[in-house]
């Protein structure tokens, strides 16, 4: 990494932020969490589960209303924050003391600043739209009350995560969203694949959570506090190795939650959940929590170049990894999931660039939240019309029958490939530029990723909406009801205009107090890079056009394919590696432990018993039952005794 020396200066910049006590509107920010939490509690433990009580008939409306109410509170808070002085935009409100043990003190507090405010808007805004969409999507599900309860639980937990002023409270939200994710991936638990996918997501996330938990313990051991602000102040006085260890541990946590290599394997399977869940949790919000963690811990990463480099490497590897997988999948949701991994890789890459990239990571996170939620919901709308078929080879020519879905999906498509003027263009362009300015290879990986993204998204687009109709016979595609298309239209509009956040550097300036800022000069003018990116994107898209639009699409996936395609279809052997490296050795370990337990430990115990038993069985022969034998033994004994006495006396 080059030109990292100036970063320590930038670090001291945002450590200067002094949170002010909340008053006025800000003292009501706890409502953000409380509303969906109460709604979730009512929906999940309210009486009459399973029968057709009022909660079963109107519960989805309550859940949606709770999400919208939370969004309204978020908007009010955001507007109020805009009205504050820059120095007073980090407000904190202590609610109660969660735990107090000796000098260790964890306060349940709401920490609302520029970064939290953006996340709150994204979570509650996109969350509300997806709640509305779910009313239509889950209309015929007998357990939709539970579904909305879980969604509310997720919103509440995610808001705890982003409003936490203490790493331990953040961890509470972190585990809460993990639980909600588990419950919602396995929502159709009668499907074995869904149940297994939920378990897999949960277990892989535990590995990451271990990193985060160890990081928090290290903070406590080193600084005696887990308060985010205080850790940020203390870490500047700590040694380099502590900062590096903290950075790497937090990165492990981020990798688990954000499906980054090497903990990426759960995200593709997570698509077993209902599509609104994939859109909300596994595209727009929860999986970006890792990026949030890195940006929130900017004070730590600013001090450790090793940790930052690790973040950049993870980001680069994942963005190419996800893009590769996205190219090979025929399942529309899995193609989009690969794309999600890839886009979060971009965010990680940006976050790893330090103060030069934090703001762009968050910017891309927000635009990605819009266009990826849009495309997932669009995919859900397509599936809705295609009898829940997810194989893109069975789609084709849907643009005329699903005009609204097609147009909104196209907006998301143009945004994600970075078509000039759309939101993704601005956010991805900024990341690639800063990557090039910091490290040529990271920039090259990001540029290549942009081309591949254009390729596989064009493929998804062509296979789904263009070409010949390849539908199954009993499928009658139709446009989805208004309750589903209206959220699509709103998200499509946001995908188009989301780039406006960066006009006159608004989002960079807005986040500077939290993340610091730094500008690296490029060797070439920025428009040259932009031009190159657009050219690469055009090449990727044209390649997909030549390969998929100009030829017939086989109804089943061809088996005679290149090594690359085969690897992509197998998720780049992520599961195979996990199985070979962790699962099988683990199994062998447990089996050998069972063997040691069975033969060694149990062997010692049963062996002793058997030895005693065998000895007793031998001695038993002496007990013949014949009186005369006993008499002979007694005489023999007496004789020996007498002889011994005589020998002693005579000696």
């Amino acid at each position: 990494m080059t030109s990292m020396s100036s970063i320590v200066l930038a670090a001291s910049e945002h450590a200067d932020v002094v949170p002010v006590a909340a008053d006025g509107v800000f003292s009501w920010m706890w409502l953000l969490v409380a509303i969906p939490a109460v709604s979730a509690a009512i929906l999940l433990i309210g009486d009459g589960a399973g029968d057709h009580g009022p909660l079963d008939r109107f519960g989805h409306l309550l859940g949606t209303a709770a999400a919208i109410a939370s969004f309204v509170v978020g908007v009010v808070g955001f507007v109020a924050l805009l009205g504050q002085d820059v120095a007073e935009r980090a407000v904190t409100q202590d609610l109660w003391t969660w735990m107090q043990v000796g000098g260790f003190d964890v306060t349940m507090s709401v920490y609302y600043d520029q970064l939290s405010a953006l996340f709150v808007l994204l979570i509650t805004g996109v969350g509300s739209l997806i709640h509305v969409y779910s009313i239509g999507y889950m209309a015929h599900d007998p357990r939709k009350r539970r579904f909305f309860g879980f969604l509310n639980l997720f919103i509440a937990a995610m808001l705890v995560l982003v409003l936490a002023g203490d790493y331990l409270v953040l961890f509470l939200g972190w585990e809460g969203v993990g639980l909600a994710s588990y419950l919602l991936i396995g929502f159709w638990q009668e499907k074995r694949s869904a149940a297994v996918a939920a378990k897999k997501a949960f277990i892989v996330n535990r590995v990451g959570d271990l990193g985060l938990a160890l990081g928090i313990m290290l903070m406590f051991a080193q600084f005696g506090t887990t308060n985010i602000h205080e850790v940020g102040l203390n870490v500047t006085n700590a040694s380099q190795s502590v900062a590096t260890a903290l950075g790497l541990l937090l990165l492990l946590g981020a990798c688990g939650k954000s499906a980054q290599v090497p903990l990426q394997s759960w995200l593709l399977d997570a698509m077993e959940g209902p599509t609104p869940v994939s859109a909300l949790i596994h595209a727009a919000t929860m999986v970006t929590a890792g990026v949030y963690l890195v940006v929130r811990s900017a004070a730590i990463y600013d001090l450790s170049e090793v940790a930052r480099t690790a973040v950049v490497i993870v980001g680069c590897v994942t963005l190419l990894f996800g893009a590769w997988i996205g190219c090979a999948k025929d399942d529309i949701k899995k193609a989009l999931a690969g794309s999600t991994m890839s886009q979060i890789g971009y965010m990680m890459l940006a976050a790893g660039l330090g103060p030069a990239g934090y703001a762009f990571a968050i910017f891309h996170l927000i635009t990605h939240g819009f266009f990826k939620a849009n495309m997932f919901l669009g995919a859900g709308s397509v599936m809705h019309g295609m009898n829940d078929d997810v194989d893109m080879r069975h789609y084709g020519a849907l643009r005329k029958l699903m005009p609204l879905t097609f147009i909104t999906f196209a907006m998301g498509y143009l945004a994600i490939i970075g078509f000039p003027g759309f939101s993704g263009f601005f956010s991805k362009d900024r990341i690639i530029e800063s990557a090039f300015a910091t490290n040529f290879w990271a920039g090259l990986a990001a540029l290549l990723g942009a081309g591949v993204t254009a390729f596989y998204m064009t493929r998804v687009m062509i296979l789904t909406f263009f070409g010949e109709r390849r539908w199954r016979e009993d499928v009658h595609p139709h446009e989805s009801p208004k309750i589903m298309t209206v959220p699509l239209i709103v998200l499509a509009a946001l995908s188009v205009v989301g780039g406006a956040l960066t006009f006159s550097d608004w989002i960079e300036d807005w986040l500077t107090p939290v993340t610091g800022s730094e500008h690296h000069e490029l060797g070439v003018p920025a428009w040259v890079i932009t031009l190159i990116i657009v050219a690469v994107v055009a090449v990727g898209a044209s390649l997909a056009y030549v390969l998929f639009a100009r030829r017939d699409v086989p109804d089943t996936a061809p088996q005679q394919v290149s090594v690359f395609t085969r690897a992509g279809r197998a998720d780049l052997y992520g599961d195979a590696v996990n199985e070979a490296v962790f699962m099988r050795p683990g199994q062998y370990l447990t089996r050998s432990l069972v063997y040691v337990d069975g033969t060694g430990i149990d062997g010692a115990v049963t062996g002793t018993a058997e030895l005693v038993g065998d000895g007793a069985r031998g001695l038993r022969r002496l007990q013949t039952g014949f009186v005369r034998t006993y008499a002979a033994e007694i005489f023999g004994g007496a004789l020996v005794l007498v002889l011994a006495l005589l020998a002693v006396n005579l000696a």
Partner: protein, 99 residues
Amino acid sequence: MTVEPFIGLSALLFAIGAIGVLVRRNAIVVFMCVELMLNACNLSFVTFARAHGNLDGQVAAFFVMVVAAAEVVVGLAIIVSIFRTRRSASVDDASLLKL
């Protein structure tokens, strides 16, 4: 007084009794041989009591006689009851008390 003849007789009687216990199968005969051994011991006791001129050995002999009488009562009762159930007085037939 010479003790050797008495002790010799006692030893002889004891040996006869011991051999009888070991080689005979009839419970009554075994029983009598036991009595013979006890009385061989009694003979030794009184011989040495006489030789030493005190009464300790004679007291011991009385104890042996009392115990022997009690033992005879119990033992004969057992032998009779075994004979009633098994129609046999052979000690080898009563060999069930084993593993």
